[in-house]
Symmetry: C2
Subunit: 170 residues, 2 copies
Amino acid sequence: MPSKPAAPITIDAVYAAPGYLFRRMQQIAVSIFMEECKAFDLTPVQYAALIAIHAHPGIDATRLSAVIAFDRSTLGSVIERLQAKDYIDRRPAPEDKRIKLLYLTRPGAAILREIVPAVERAQARMLEPLKPADRKALMGLLVQLVDLNNEASRVPLRAEDALEHLGKAG
Amino acid sequence: MPSKPAAPITIDAVYAAPGYLFRRMQQIAVSIFMEECKAFDLTPVQYAALIAIHAHPGIDATRLSAVIAFDRSTLGSVIERLQAKDYIDRRPAPEDKRIKLLYLTRPGAAILREIVPAVERAQARMLEPLKPADRKALMGLLVQLVDLNNEASRVPLRAEDALEHLGKAG
DNA sequence: CCTAGATCGTAAGTATACTGTCAATCAATA
DNA sequence: TATTGATTGACAGTATACTTACGATCTAGG
């Protein structure tokens, strides 16, 4: 079998490349999120962090990064900003002086309740151009692919591992 | 019809959200790209910029940003880095003193030829966990979605508009 | 009990992504 | 032609994403 000919160096090859499409789609998703949620002064990352803290009060930053698959270093500044906005509270853990436990404040819980409908609108808008059946198909394939590629990312999702020690589910 | 009940605030809802999946997939894609291309000291963005300059020698930064749908402000520093590595050349346009025209240098053209196989491996790896038919389906849906959502992004792709004045095709 | 290795938070450094703003320049028009 | 308006590239500021490193702390082994 003859070796495959070298791919031509064209922009169209870039446009059709998975990596390019994922990047583009992410840009679009963030843009739509920010548009729908501009009244709330919360970024997608900050939103996910709030959700996770809401679901797991008293989680620490390292475990939080595993639960939402965010880079640990980045998360430090995300937490700082959420704290500056008074949406979360950071308390030292009595049994481990290294750890700081994260909790939603009352305003944090409130903004979360308020922003949810806007986030839902944003999520819907991202897929809106597709036919309903195609939306389902795309999401199904993406869930599969992200899961199967989990270990390939620098910050794999480790929800279960991270939560083992918290002694609570989902 | 009763109004839809408020969505529960759970992490699983985040995991299934399009925005989260797009973000995750992008992280994975960049990670795989960097791994396959680590010998070349080129990021995905820098690679795309080189390809575009290769395809359109003498393009300026603003048009380049439209051709690859990158933010123009960001592109400034990308260009600086490519220039620092001696992969591109920036020359003032004689007929317009505001514009600086971009060209690949000889080393830039060389690295481009060399990196292409690694990039192809990276692109293939991103989809590898899926069955071939599913890869096709996913790419087809993504191409559609990115195209239909083009205007939703802050930096829409404007390949044709941008190239009109260059007097050459893609 | 005390050291070796792991873990937690933090910080510095690089790269992308976007928001503004600004001066220089060009183009179109009054 | 002289002013207006648009465009180009540059810069400042914020936010994410990742790397490496480092001190403080905890835990396990000897």
